[in-house]
Assembly symmetry: C2
């Protein structure tokens, strides 16, 4: 196996973005990471709050938000607009040459509108391709790409896309060139064995233990697609994966969940 | 003088952005321009409309809008968010590899908060520097940069910046490397000698004629800073400058105002 240079891909969740102090600490830790790196951020409550203020009524189907045209506009304004540029500006102040993107920029991530036989998910996009040529060139120039959760279909349509999936798709695509570590950073310290106990962090989950934990109902709801993304990434060449709190970035003395095959 | 390769810098005004059909036509013409190119876009009425819907009261001083913190957030959401990404997505569909930017992205344009002895203009930025190294690299890769009118101060503060000035600053900085043509594209056919007559386009304005037209009051208000930007750009190395309607991009058979020294 050839010797690849390292790349850290970090996904930061919405709850950290919503907490100004937590976001500042996270960005400071992220800026301190050595070597090439890339950030993917979720949305947080700004989109919901903005939509409410604008009088846009959210539409749900079985608990899933449907991205109709007004919601897409709000998602692009808040994710690709304010949040992405706020983070980019703050990272610049931390001597990190950040550059904010959607999938439309440089055609970096193309997706297709989600098809479903029963319901119309609206402007939600499932990733088709990651264009790594340009990304690799930018990373070689010391650029730190910062992705918001917006992609495009190549035909002029922007699409709302799950940020966890964007992170794993970027990690997989870049693992052809880099030795990629993928870190899912959120408000918990890791995957918990007891949702009521913040300190019940599972130190390690393998694919076998995942199946058992899923069967026993220890891991459920929102954590399932996140872990599915992790095992997909592992099976497609990503070297190391972690799920945990922002402390995860200071690796020496922190507890988080390692995902291994 | 060395032989520089051409680069077209186009600024598109807010009134074209507000008109869906005019914007579509413009983007189609822009995509058809041969050779390296760059787009700078203004804001249009979306920011005002969004601010109104969000209950943000605009603040003016002598007819100039003051960018307070809530207005800056709206400007970033609408200019750098929806408008920039909408345009980028549409250009991608026109086989133009657009990449949308603010000045914070890749530290491309730094500015400083406007100082004034009498009033506080809020989060308005005057351009300090354009980082052409990265821009030239992207242009060499076939990327078409698309700039929104947001810059940053390098200390984590985003700043609202005049789009005409961004266009001339980019044109000047890139004229060290390229033979730059700068086109200010707006809803009129050019600089008019009679504001009531859409067909009274002045075919050519020199610095001498500008002084005379200004003295006679033929050119006034909003056109003055635009023309000041033009003559500044001309004096600092930009080769050709035009002001006119979107037809200007189909150069053969259109009338617009040529700005020459």
């Amino acid at each position: 196996m050839e010797n690849k240079s390292p790349l850290t891909v970090v996904k930061i969740g919405g709850n950290i973005i919503d907490d100004a102090a937590a976001l500042e600490n996270f960005l400071s830790d992220f800026a301190s990471l050595t070597g090439p790196k890339l950030l993917v951020h979720g949305g947080g409550k700004l989109a919901t709050r903005t939509a409410e203020s604008l009088g846009i009524v959210p539409v749900f189907h079985n608990g899933k938000r449907i991205t109709n045209a007004p919601m897409l506009e709000v998602a692009v304004m808040t994710y690709a607009g304010w949040i992405n540029k706020f983070i980019t500006g703050k990272l610049q102040a931390l001597q990190t040459n950040a550059m904010g993107f959607t999938g439309a920029d440089g055609n970096l991530i193309t997706s297709e509108k989600r098809k479903d036989t029963t319901i119309d998910f609206g402007f939600a996009g499932d990733i088709k391709a990651v264009n790594t040529t340009l990304l690799k060139l930018l990373i070689a120039q010391g650029i730190v790409p910062v992705f918001s959760a917006i992609t495009h279909d190549g035909n002029g349509q922007l699409l709302n896309t799950n940020a966890d999936t964007i992170a794993s798709a970027l990690a997989i695509a870049l693992s052809k060139t880099f030795d990629v570590e993928l870190l899912y950073c959120f408000e918990k310290k890791g995957v918990l064995s007891d949702i009521e106990n913040e300190n019940s962090v599972l130190p390690k989950i393998t694919f076998d233990s995942y199946k058992k934990l899923k069967h026993k109902g220890v891991i459920h709801s929102g954590m399932l697609p996140k872990l599915d993304n992790c095992f997909e990434a592992l099976s497609q060449g990503v070297s190391q994966i972690g799920i945990g709190g922002p402390e995860m970035l200071q690796k020496d003395n922190s507890i988080f969940t390692h995902i291994t095959s």
